[in-house]
């Protein structure tokens, strides 16, 4: 990532967390004020993660990417010793920790939890007089949870209340912890606590829900106390009495302390912020009650003059309420002054000014409903100092009624607005999730992210995967992403970069202060990579949800890649195996072709050229004492099965001919057909058939043949013309018994007559325009070269066919036989 300005790394266990979100929001605002870059590395850590060799997002942070590091809570089970050890990773940089550490070498900004909780429990025990007070714990191993538990025990002791272990329930800081605790205390242990102290607000929300479900009224039946004062604490029913941690102030001060450490010569230091009790309804108080009347109860002089005289007192009382708002601009003084002006029949400024104060409080995430206390206080002043039924009294009554309506309206606006935003976010997330779930490659991932994430206010996003399965992960690849509204155009395999840089050099390319969130693709302690979001206006849960969805998407893409890779490898291996087998089959087929054409009384030349590795054409020359047998045929179909049938055909014919060398060709074919039919139809369960003509050259000038194949061409030397001889009959392996379906035909051959046997690969050879070579061209070719040696006749015809056809579609076989009585060819 570019380092054109100071960059602060923030480590946190998550971004969607009621405790962390106010801190992160304030950090973001403070970083903007100081023109800083902020990179929030997100990972939830367990103690074992720190010692095991795992690929953690927080481990990416370092001198190459940031100038200083702020450590926020990273995991509930981490002890101060664990955190101290983890902070050593970043010893080259200034570090400030918010969770407790056991070293002075890092700065530390924390909240004094103890004082606030002591005040809160003292309130329950002292003001309300509760004696049977239960406690719901936090996770075991959590330093802060243990501290809160110890405060609970010491406060019981201080008030002379015996500790009862049965009133202590385990928990995990979760809403469910509160639900489970109520079930344990009431249903299992049969206890009836008067009050429950919860280790945090989340647990208290669960307790409230479970008590309500059982028909209990809070606080009349049971009082409940929380801890943290997260925003929701104001809106639950009843509003939660809790201990406020100044979370926003914590974020701001932690960053400011860290910035001080960047100054030359500065040293680490610690700072403690106070926590405070926030009284609402759940403890048994009224949220809007002013418990200690700030004004004297003695009646003073009646009239406006009395109100004027008590201005200072009233303003101090307002200040003592500690309400959120523009405190530095003396809003309390102005509020009281405008109130008096209204009663003095001067300018009506009270309500407009109150509205501006309420808006300020709302904008700064303050508790707007707490302003009812100020209105109550003003009413007390009025009721003690103005005559009832006076014009001023009536005017004050109307004004303060209007002020209450206004305060309630503004107080409700916050959660209502938040709810609208949540519903809108949920709708958009559903659409985004649907789109991400359909992504199958990184190229389309970038486009989908570019299309959907801007809807969530996220200006840019980058998906990176680690190169190595095992840490340290020195190299990563940026595989998808978008910025400026468009998907990144990345090379195949993405852009390789050193992981410590977080993103490749020059990405993102902006001179403006930037804020990013870096989260893991999976939370199993060994993520395959991470996502970098440019921080936008979205709530934390949007980033958390997108992390899960993008992580799932990357998982799908990688799984699909792996499957495709495996399938491709398997396919390649299968193809190689097939090629090898085909090569062997072709070799076998070629090896059984006749090798010698030396036959008494005949000159023979032949060639066979399969269209694929293994052909379905057949020819054979079998010289015997009874004469020479020559067969030519074609197995219907293409590929390996036809090649196997061709081998079978060759063996069968060869065997049967040798067993009956003087038999008529038809008899040979009857027997061969019976063998082939049984083998192909019954045993192989295939349906190949064979066109075949079997010829017997008797050595006496006679040629006897049977079987249906292509027409035989004979160049009659004496007449100087080509005779076309049909080959009637049936095909082999197409019927069980061919008896009666074949004819033996006898022809006389003259000296130098040339017999041409061929397969349909020659006559049906096609030119690019679709025209066939045809029998006419073959006849013409024979007539042209018949006088040449048989090898030359063969080659000339084949050359002509090859020159004619575009690509070879079918096997080609040609046998040229010249009748040469009394001669032996070589």
């Amino acid at each position: 990532m570019p380092r054109r300005r100071t960059t602060i790394g923030v480590l946190s266990l998550e971004v969607a967390n009621a405790y962390l979100e106010p801190i992160l929001d304030e950090l973001s605002a403070t970083a903007r004020e100081h023109q800083l870059n902020l990179v929030n590395f997100v990972e939830s850590l367990n103690p074992e993660d720190l010692t095991a060799n795992r690929r953690l997002t927080t481990n990416i942070a370092g001198p190459a990417s940031v100038d200083a590091i702020l450590v926020l809570p990273l995991g509930h089970r981490l002890t101060p010793e664990d955190l101290t050890a983890y902070c050593q990773r970043f010893s080259a940089l200034p570090v400030c920790s918010v969770p407790a550490v056991t070293t002075d070498s890092v700065s530390h900004v924390r909240v004094d939890n103890e004082a606030g909780l002591r005040a809160a429990i003292a309130h329950l025990l002292g003001v309300h007089g509760y004696r049977r007070v239960a406690f719901v714990c936090g996770p075991k191993g959590s330093d802060e949870a243990e501290l809160r538990y110890q405060v609970y025990r010491s406060m019981l002791d201080a008030h002379g209340i015996a500790f009862d272990e049965a009133l202590v329930a385990p928990g995990e800081y979760m809403i469910q912890s509160g639900i489970d605790a109520v079930a344990l205390l009431w249903d299992v242990r049969g206890l009836k606590p008067e009050a429950i102290v919860c280790v945090n607000d989340g647990t208290a929300f669960g307790v409230l829900e479970a008590l309500k479900a059982r028909g209990f009224s809070v606080p009349h039946d049971v009082a409940v106390l929380g801890f943290d004062d997260v925003e929701l604490a104001r809106y639950v029913d009843p509003p939660l009495t809790t201990v406020r941690q100044p979370l926003r102030e914590l974020g701001r001060r932690a960053l400011e302390v860290l910035l001080e450490r960047l100054e030359p010569g500065s040293l680490p230091r610690s700072e403690v912020l106070a926590s405070e009790l926030v009284i609402r309804d759940s403890c048994g108080c009224s949220a809007y009650r002013v418990s200690d009347a700030p004004l004297s109860s003695a009646p003073g002089p009646l009239g406006l003059e009395a109100l004027n005289q008590k201005s200072l007192k009233a303003q101090r009382a307002l200040i003592s309420l500690g309400l959120p708002g523009a405190r530095d601009s003396h809003w309390e003084e102005k509020l009281y002054a405008t109130f008096l002006d209204e009663l003095s029949r001067k300018t009506p400024q009270f309500l407009p000014f109150l509205r501006s104060v309420l808006d300020d409080a709302d904008r700064s995430h303050g508790d707007v409903s707490a302003f009812h206390k100020a209105i109550t206080l003003l009413w007390q002043v009025v009721s003690k100092n103005l005559a009832p039924d006076s014009w001023e009294w009536k005017r004050a009554d109307r004004l303060l009624h209007a002020a209450r309506v206004m305060t309630s309206g503004v107080a409700e606006r916050g959660p209502a607005h938040q709810q609208v935003r949540s519903v809108d976010s949920a709708y958009k997330l559903t659409r985004t999730n649907n789109a991400l779930s359909a992504v199958i490659d990184f190229a389309s991932a970038g486009r989908v992210l570019a299309q959907h994430l801007p809807e969530h206010g996220i200006p840019s996003c980058y998906v990176c995967v680690y190169e190595s399965e095992q840490p340290p992960v020195e190299w990563s690849r940026l595989v998808a992403g978008f910025c400026s509204g468009a998907a990144l155009e990345l090379p195949e395999g993405g852009i390789r970069f050193r992981t410590e840089l977080v993103l490749p050099a020059g990405i993102p390319d902006s001179a403006e202060p930037s804020q990013h969130i870096v989260g893991p693709l999976s939370r199993n302690g060994s993520s395959p990579g991470y996502v970098v979001f440019e921080r936008g206006a979205s709530a934390g849960f949007v980033y958390e949800n997108l992390l899960v969805q993008i992580g799932t998407m990357v998982g799908h893409i990688r799984l699909l890649d792996a499957l495709v890779r495996e399938a491709t490898l398997r396919e390649a291996a299968e193809r190689a195996r097939m090629q090898k087998e085909l090569a062997i089959a072709a070799q076998i087929q070629a090896s059984i072709l006749p090798r010698s054409f030396a036959v008494a009384g005949l000159e023979i030349a032949a060639a066979m050229q399969p269209a694929t590795e293994v052909g379905g054409d057949y020819y054979d020359i079998i010289p015997l004492e009874s004469g020479t047998w020559i067969g030519i045929g074609d197995v219907a179909g293409h590929g390996l099965p036809t090649g196997l049938v061709m081998l079978m055909l060759q063996a069968t014919i060869s065997g049967v001919v040798r067993g009956a060398p003087n038999a008529p060709p038809s008899e040979i074919l009857y027997t061969a057909n019976a063998v082939l039919f049984d083998n192909i139809r019954n045993r192989m369960e295939q349906d190949e058939h064979v066109t075949l003509t079997l010829l017997h050259f008797t050595g006496t000038g006679q040629m006897i043949f049977a079987g249906a194949h292509e027409d035989i061409l004979i160049y009659r030397a004496r007449r100087g013309e080509v005779e076309v001889v049909q080959t009637p009959g049936a095909w082999l392996a197409a019927a069980r018994d061919l008896r009666g379906k074949l004819d033996d035909i006898t022809l006389e051959l003259g000296a130098d007559d040339v017999v041409l046997l061929y397969t349909d690969g020659i006559t049906e050879a096609r030119r690019a325009d679709g025209e066939f070579f045809g029998p006419e061209r073959l006849i013409a070719a024979l007539a042209k070269v018949w006088q040449a040696p048989v090898q030359e006749i063969r080659d000339a015809i084949l050359d002509q066919v090859r020159a004619f056809m575009g690509t070879q579609q079918d096997d080609i076989t040609l046998v040229v036989i010249r009748n040469t009585p009394g001669r032996v060819s070589s």
């Binding site: 379905g616 074609d634 197995v635 219907a636 179909g637 293409h638 349906d687 190949e688 058939h689 066109t691 249906a708 292509e710 027409d711 049909q726 080959t727 009637p728 009959g729 049936a730 095909w731 197409a734 019927a735 379906k741 349909d760 049906e764 679709g770 066939f772 029998p775 579609q809 079918d810």
Partner: protein
């Protein structure tokens, strides 16, 4: 979607260079086959001949007429499909329908190939020019 000829559960097929057009004349189920029966036509022909057999049985056809007048070429793989068709019709549903080929004497391959086909089941297959 091509409309089915009236009374027929068999649609015409036109694959560019190869087409099959069925018609029904009383008890004769006729198919005119045109073009080139090469490898590109093989799958179509195989499927169609199976449908043709089912339709002939369904209609109780006395005869299936295959008109080859405009079928210029048929390779050995397509001829193999015809052998399977004849074999199936002759052996499974015997004594079902007869098969009559209408041939074109100008196309020499038809005479050679169809005569061989006829010899397979002469009582069942008839060839006419």
């Amino acid at each position: 979607m091509t409309a089915l000829p009236s009374g027929l559960g068999l649609a015409p097929v036109d694959e560019g260079g190869f087409s099959l057009t069925p018609s029904l004349r009383g008890k004769v189920l006729a198919v005119k086959i045109c073009g080139n029966g090469d490898m590109a036509a093989l799958d179509v022909l195989n499927r169609y001949l199976k449908q043709l057999h089912r339709e002939a049985v369904h209609l109780g056809a006395a005869e299936v007429e295959l008109d080859f007048h405009e079928l210029y070429f048929m390779n050995s793989s397509c001829l193999k499909a015809l052998v399977s068709f004849i074999d199936g019709a002759a052996n499974v549903d015997k004594p079902g329908y007869r098969i009559r080929f209408l041939t074109n004497p100008q196309l020499f391959w038809q005479r050679r190939s169809l005569e061989a086909l006829q010899r397979l089941a002469p009582e069942f297959v008839q060839i006419e020019s």
